[in-house]
Amino acid sequence: MRAMVYRGPYKVRVEEKDIPPIEHPNDAIVRVTHAAICGSDLHLYHGMMPDTRVGMTFGHEFIGVVEEVGPSVQNLKRGDRVMVPFNVYCGSCYFCARGLYSNCHNVNPNATAVGAIYGYSHTCGGYDGGQAEFVRVPFADVGPSIMPEWMDPEDALLLTDALATGYFGAQLGDIVEGDTVVVFGAGPVGLFAAKSSWLMGAGRVIVIDHLDYRLEKARTFAHAETYNFAEYNDIVVQMKKITDYLGADVAIDAVGAEADGNFTQHVTAAKFKLQGGSPVALNWAIDSVRKGGTISVMGAYGPMFSAVKFGDALNKGLTLRMNQCPVKRQWPRLFEHIKNGYLKPSDIITHRIPLEHIAEGYHIFSAKLDDCIKPVIVPDAS
């Protein structure tokens, strides 16, 4: 089969690989019809995530058709069209039994501090991902869902991470009616978090970024009020000014490890990998929120320490909430919202790239060329 393969920082190519075999009785092999590149794939691409090995196939956002099932699989059969959440999880451990699917303890031998994610380094379990023609899906009776007949495949693709994560981020903010919510980052997850904040009753939604084309999307797609931090000497002061010097009630960090905006933090973290990620956006969130407010973090950070302004968070009495999204928990409700027309996730897709051109796809997305917001990979386009 053809598969994207990591060759080292900033380098990927398409190679011939063996079709993955069934390794466990509850595995399925899925033929990928749509995959996506995610902002968090860029942390791997830039060599920021420890134990990212040459030869690995990335891609935790994908949908496809069941090609083969292991002997103990009961809920799926060959030919089923499935959507697969980015979390690999067993369904039965202490954490899964409590709904914490992203924190499963039975699928990632390499670490206990993080669950398992398709195509996301050995720190997250060493599973190959879906930027390929075929992918191994463990616990096929637990993770995947059959795609509803009425659903647009590109909407289904975005449900495997970006939309579910953005919506989850808004939930972590514990929004109450009329709250002012500020979202840092207008990438796919930030756009969905902004949009979801309205569903939860926000009174005002503000989005901060430095890319004008993404801020434009935040205004049209997510009805948000927007600020380009590159236009302000100090974005924290600007946030205070526009909130009557009170600060926002809720701040959502939808940026994570690659945050720009502070040269030193960016270079030590994103360039020289000496931190678990650049905490610029997180620190802005801590400073911009009101005392007693809530911070929600869904930006991806690595396992290493980061220079976070913990003292300010303490002294302001903030509640910090964070996790990887337990994707499948969100699905029934999100299906309803899509059906009702409240959400149209595929509106954010800007680029559709054949698998054979994936090196260009990564570069365009990483360097933010051509007003790219969300690139989708189509394995059989060529």
Partner: protein, 190 residues
């Protein structure tokens, strides 16, 4: 303003927002939010029919965090450790817990070694690494490389000059070392 007790006046009332934004308030009640409460004991909800999953076959001594009691029943098989980088990785897993910076720094160092081992191995193969095609830089010419960056107030342009150095410098250094070695070898022959 925060100097008085009352919340500042809202610009738009909930009714205004409901009229303007599709779905406004659909999940106003936390009970309608699917991940609330965060933990809910419901093992039957996942589709798992096992109490402890059957174990996947271990085809090589699979490295694992020493914070795990045993090898997890299911694991990825993407890229088994090999070469010097593999030895570094196995050592890091065997020696240090996830709480130790040494664990992660050693793994990151192994990643850099792995990339260079793999580059060298590729030159002995039918498909050597190609820094042009594999970095996708050709898209600079096909996808508005210049106009996407300049005159647009982007913050990341401030440090993008570092990228070619980080990517290119090790290759340039390797080429220089190879040239010096080649010349030394040629001189010894002469």
């Amino acid at each position: 303003m925060p100097y008085r007790a009352e919340k500042p006046e809202r610009r738009l009332s909930s009714n205004d927002l409901r009229a303007r934004i599709p779905g406004w308030g659909a999940d106003l009640d936390p009970k309608d939010r699917p991940a609330v409460p965060k933990e809910r004991f419901d093992p039957g909800a996942t589709g798992a029919r096992w109490d402890f999953p059957e174990r996947q076959e271990e085809k090589w001594p699979r490295e694992r965090s020493i914070e795990h009691q045993f090898l997890t029943p299911v694991f990825g098989t993407s890229a088994p450790p090999k070469g010097l980088s593999g030895a570094m990785r196995k050592y890091s897993y065997k020696k240090y817990s996830e709480g130790r910076a040494a664990h992660w720094l050693l793994l990151l160092a192994a990643d850099r070694v792995d990339a260079w081992e793999s580059h060298l191995r590729s030159f002995a193969s039918l498909r050597p690494d190609n820094p042009i095609t594999e970095t996708g830089v050709r898209s600079e010419f096909t996808h508005r490389g210049l106009s996407s960056r300049f005159g647009r107030k982007r913050a990341d342009v401030n440090h993008e000059w570092l990228d070619p150095i980080i990517v290119g410098a090790p290759w340039a250094a390797a080429a220089a070392i190879a040239a010096v070695a080649f010349r030394a070898l040629a001189r010894r022959r002469a």
